[in-house]
Amino acid sequence: MSSLDISIKENNYQLYGLVALRVLIGWHFLYEGIAKLINPYWSSAAYLLDSKWIFSGLAKSIVANPTFLTISDYVNMWGLTIVGISLLLGIFSKYGSLFGMALVLSYYLFAPPLLGLEYGKPNEGSYLIVNKNLIEACALWVLYAFPTSPIIGLDRFISNQKNN
């Protein structure tokens, strides 16, 4: 799907709803990224060490290898920041939502709230199989499928240039 249906384009309630969702997720990503960038103590190691389920072995291998861990830290810090800017300003938002979806989906898969899995780190809510990461991944899928940035966002200038 490359552009929005004409009905959504012309229905401001639907369009603004999607843009609001994009901007809010962008804001969330951007601050998650910046908070990690400015915190000298932050490392993905703690999250990875607490990993359960099928990717726990991979998570432990990443922590055990300083190079992999550094890569993981950078991918997270900069990945979240760049996806955040992309969604907030509406620039390359299709790729941003796709990459963002991959990031939060990996957070979900490394530590899913499945039955029988217990985590050391205290949770801020109550979850059964579905958690906020999964919902955010799903919301990013919606944003990928309904790209609003060519209408509201910097992508509008890029798509205009292409059309010209």
Binding site: V23, W27, Y31, L88, G153
Partner: protein
């Protein structure tokens, strides 16, 4: 005209819609800036005038003087073999198992940590053990090429009796890891023979022995190190800085604890299948003990589980209390208490032992306005950690004790604190969360106040860190001893602080035996 107007309208519409979310980014940046400056102010208020030195302890220093040293080990059992690994020698069996474990589990860093130890420029040249199997393992360790640094220059010779080992002129220094009832005799003889001594804790089995060892070390001037590797743990060094700076306020109560709940933790160790009258020199083993028994099943039990009897050690006192006492002495310069009393009993392990498995002791320091409280159970794993309670703040160290606390710590302000009164009132300090936390491996003391920081500070880790590099504190403690021998400086657990430990332990043990409070007479060096 109308076309032009339409185009301008379209362009305006394009511009508006294209930049519609940019103001949101502006709002984001304004709020980010506000949040960051708010936190900066908060952190500055917390830390700027509080902690003087926020950096982690210095990285391990390289050997200042390269004189090669020949060492001998007397008592190559479980602890002895760990100490010798700290010096850079492991048995072939150990290196093979450890590398296999590392291959199976990438998080198992035991092998990597051993192999990345600094080469301490020493040789293991003498091994003495009354159990043949252990002595052979010691020789094996001296022959193993798999070690940090170059291949071993020489391999070890076995000595049947420790006196033969001490008589060897090639040996510069000895590590004593025998049961406690042998510590004083070997330490004194070694000092007289001019050998430097690394002695495992507890320093001695009795009070009189402690006096004799102290005098012998002082008289001969050898370099003596007691085996409290907690002295090398960076969290303890940082804790000391905070306490010495008075950030906890007046401290009147310190609580140290031990919790274990397994037969292994209660010293019910395996009896080696090859242990028998031919492989064990039982008469030499029991020579200094007050009560003697003939070789047999009971003797075998006592040989491999010697920590369970007062004939050979002092139970919880010298084995586990001594570590936590020394850590507190390291942090607070406690010294020898004025009074000690203790109670306890054999309440869980009714296996013939005579050392208590539940034991509590109190130590009074009237000149410091302080009580030190120790409480131990070998039948509950409810790890309580150690707590230094001050009028202004409490420092909670780890959640596990024994073996030297290699954990982080968290300092939490007291809601009735005088020192932090204004900060508490203005909300800069929240008494529900720590004001400082220190986790092993972190670059510096973190002045945050959150639930997550508390969670990580309490997580136990097996290793200490130096400049972010994982190191076994036992290796650092051996290195500290060898470096001190070379440059004539005092090692970290030198005879002066070792003597504090030995006397404090002896006072509490004496109180358990007599059922009365024991007083230390520093003038006549006597227990009253």
């Amino acid at each position: 005209m109308s076309d032009k107007k339409n185009r301008t309208n379209l362009e305006r519409r394009d511009l508006l819609r294209g930049l519609a979310t940019v103001p949101v980014a502006g709002v984001f940046l304004v709020n980010l800036w506000r949040k960051m400056s708010r936190e900066k102010v908060k952190k500055a208020n917390l830390l700027s005038d509080l902690i003087k030195n926020k950096t982690a302890p210095a990285a391990v220093k390289s050997i200042s003087n390269s004189r090669h040293l020949n060492i001998g080990i007397i008592g190559y059992g479980g602890r002895g073999s760990h100490l010798i690994r700290g010096a850079g020698f492991a048995t072939k069996g150990w290196t093979e198992t450890a590398s296999e474990n590392a291959r199976k589990n990438k998080l198992n860093k035991q092998f990597e940590t051993f192999m990345s130890q600094e080469d301490l420029n020493c040789s293991l040249v003498g091994v003495c053990d009354v159990f043949d199997i252990n002595a052979e393992l010691g020789i094996n360790a001296s022959q193993n090429d798999m070690r940090p640094g170059s291949k071993p220059k020489v391999t070890a010779t076995r000595f049947q009796h420790y006196k033969d080992l001490l008589a060897n002129d090639d040996i510069d220094a000895v590590i004593i890891a025998t049961p406690d009832h042998w510590h004083s005799r070997i330490s004194i003889d070694a000092a007289k023979a001019g050998k430097h001594v690394y002695c495992e804790k507890g320093m001695t089995r009795t009070f009189d022995e402690a006096i004799d060892v102290y005098d012998a070390v002082k008289k001969t001037g050898i370099t003596f190190q007691l085996g409290h590797q907690n002295r090398q743990v960076e969290a303890n060094e940082k804790a000391r800085e905070i306490v010495q700076q008075g950030l906890l306020g007046p401290i009147n109560l310190v609580e140290i604890t031990t919790n274990r709940n397994s037969p292994w933790g209660a010293w019910v160790w395996g009896i080696h299948p090859k242990g028998n009258e031919k492989t064990i020199d039982w008469e030499t083993f029991q020579e200094p003990s007050p009560n003697k028994i003939p070789f047999g099943d009971e003797a075998l039990k006592r040989f491999f589980r010697w920590r369970c009897w007062y004939d050979y050690g002092t139970g919880l006192s010298g084995d586990l209390f001594s570590h936590d006492f020394d850590a507190m002495n390291q942090i607070m310069d406690l010294g020898i208490p004025k009074y000690a009393s203790s109670t306890g009993g054999v309440y869980f392990y009714k296996d013939g032992r005579d050392v208590p498995d539940v034991w509590n002791a109190t130590f009074e320091y009237p000149d410091k306005d302080l009580t030190l409280l120790y409480s131990a159970s070998l039948s509950s794993n409810n790890a309580r950690g150690n707590r230094i309670m001050g009028h202004d703040a409490t420092m909670q160290m780890g959640g596990q004790s024994g073996g030297g606390s290699i954990h982080g710590f968290a300092v939490t302000a007291d809601s009735e604190s005088t020192q932090y009164k204004d900060r508490l009132k203005s909300g800069i300090i929240n008494p529900d969360y720590p004001i400082f936390t220190y986790s092993p491996g972190s670059k510096e003391i973190d002045g945050v106040t959150s639930a997550t920081s508390r969670y990580f500070a309490n997580k136990g880790l097996l290793y200490t860190y130096r400049a972010g590099k994982r190191v076994d504190p036992t290796h650092l403690h051996i290195k500290d001893w060898l470096d001190s021998i070379r440059d004539g400086s005092m090692p970290k657990c030198n005879i002066d602080v070792a003597f504090h430990e030995a006397v404090a332990c002896a006072m509490a043990t004496e109180s358990y035996f007599t059922g009365r409070r024991i007083e230390w007479d520093p003038v006549n060096r006597k227990l009253i």
